[in-house]
């Protein structure tokens, strides 16, 4: 799990359950104490692998939205929740966003986009590298798996869990990236997330995605791109991963307040 704190933005991403929703009120409270007011909320997630393990009072998306609506102040009046489907019931994308009215609105930087990747059915040989030996460190996992090469400019903060599992945060100037891995056979999972700009070199995101796919070689992968400006970033995703043996199976597009356009694509490996 990861937390990023910017001067006017907080991103928290947790495995496990929906407990992170409990952070909304305290974060708003501490922000208010230093003179900041909330202007936007985005909540995204994939599917539950173990839906019955989710804790009350948010055990499904409908309940999560009710809880979110209750936590947010009234001035975040533009709200939308949607489940973006894919060809696979195990890979649908749940999105909620809320933004404020004009009185509180602030200029939004619209050149940045967020890429969220969920990968399941990881290559077994590659997944084994995320099992911890007694003397294994997060840094060693970063090196032997090739994760360190995804963005060689990034400062990497990594952690190897016992007996298995891995998390890392990458810091490259004002941009973050993060990876979380659950390697156990039968429910292996890895995620990758980063931010980019539509003004970056067109090949930058392509190179990153290629390296990510090569590190995990997933059987199934979904890629969500969130961008406030119209761009063709989503098409670069296809060009990046299809030459690596991933075939696109579905693509869904939707619009959300403040978040902008979300393009959700799913892929499967042709290796099986």
């Amino acid at each position: 799990s990861s937390l990023f704190v910017y001067p006017t933005k907080i991103i928290i991403k947790t495995c496990g359950t929906t407990q992170l929703l409990k952070s909304i009120r305290p974060f708003i409270h501490y922000a208010c104490e230093i003179g900041l007011i909330i202007t936007e909320c985005r909540y995204t997630r994939g599917n539950y692998i173990f839906p019955k393990a989710q804790p009350y009072p948010h055990t499904n998306f409908k309940e999560e939205i009710i809880y979110l609506q209750d936590q947010l102040p009234n001035h975040l009046c533009y709200r939308k929740a949607s489940v973006m489907p894919s060809k696979f019931t195990s890979h649908s994308w749940h999105v909620f966003s809320a933004s404020c009215d004009k009185f509180y609105s602030v200029p939004i930087s619209n050149d940045l986009y967020t890429v969220e990747i969920c990968m399941t059915d990881l290559d077994r040989v590659l997944a084994r590298k995320f099992f911890k030996h007694p003397d294994t460190t997060g840094k060693q996992m970063t090196e032997i798996t090739g994760i360190g090469d995804i963005n060689s400019n990034a400062l990497i903060c990594d952690f190897a869990f016992d007996p298995c599992g891995y998390s890392m945060n990458g810091i490259d100037g004002d941009r973050y990236s993060t990876i979380h891995v659950t390697p156990e056979d039968g429910f292996s999972y890895a995620s990758f997330e980063c931010v980019g700009s539509i003004y970056d070199d067109r090949d930058d995101i392509v190179k990153v995605l290629k390296k990510v796919v090569q590190v995990f070689r997933p059987g199934t992968m979904s890629v969500s791109i969130t961008c406030t400006s119209s761009s063709e970033i989503w098409s670069r995703i296809v060009k990046a991963v299809e030459p690596l043996g991933m075939k696109r199976r579905s693509c869904t597009v939707d619009e959300f307040p403040a978040a902008g356009t979300v393009v959700f694509q799913s892929f499967t490996s042709t290796r099986k």
């Binding site: 799990s1 990861s2 937390l3 990023f4 704190v5 910017y6 001067p7 006017t8 933005k9 907080i10 991103i11 928290i12 991403k13 947790t14 495995c15 496990g16 359950t17 407990q19 992170l20 929703l21 952070s23 305290p26 974060f27 708003i28 501490y30 922000a31 230093i34 900041l36 007011i37 909330i38 202007t39 936007e40 909320c41 985005r42 909540y43 997630r45 994939g46 599917n47 692998i49 173990f50 393990a53 509180y104 602030v106 399941t120 997060g138 903060c157 990594d158 007996p163 298995c164 998390s167 945060n169 810091i171 100037g173 004002d174 979380h180 659950t182 156990e184 999972y189 995620s191 997330e193």
Partner: protein, 64 residues
């Protein structure tokens, strides 16, 4: 839940704030002290296992 305690697919929350320029110039949310952040994370049932930062933002790897 899986035997490892992991539920794979993450949940992601992003909150944006605005305020006066001097507040933001002084670090904005980065002024919130670490004890307060730990208190929030306690409610979320996470703890910080690794931390780093630069001039732009603070980064925490969390348990779970």
């Amino acid at each position: 839940m899986a035997a490892s305690g992991f539920e794979g697919f993450e949940k992601r929350l992003e909150l944006h704030f605005s305020g006066d320029d001097p507040v933001i110039g002084m670090g904005g949310l980065r002024q919130v002290d670490f004890d307060s952040i730990e208190e929030v994370l306690h409610a979320v049932q996470c703890t910080v296992v690794s931390a780093a930062g630069n001039q732009y933002f603070d980064s925490y790897v969390l348990s779970e």
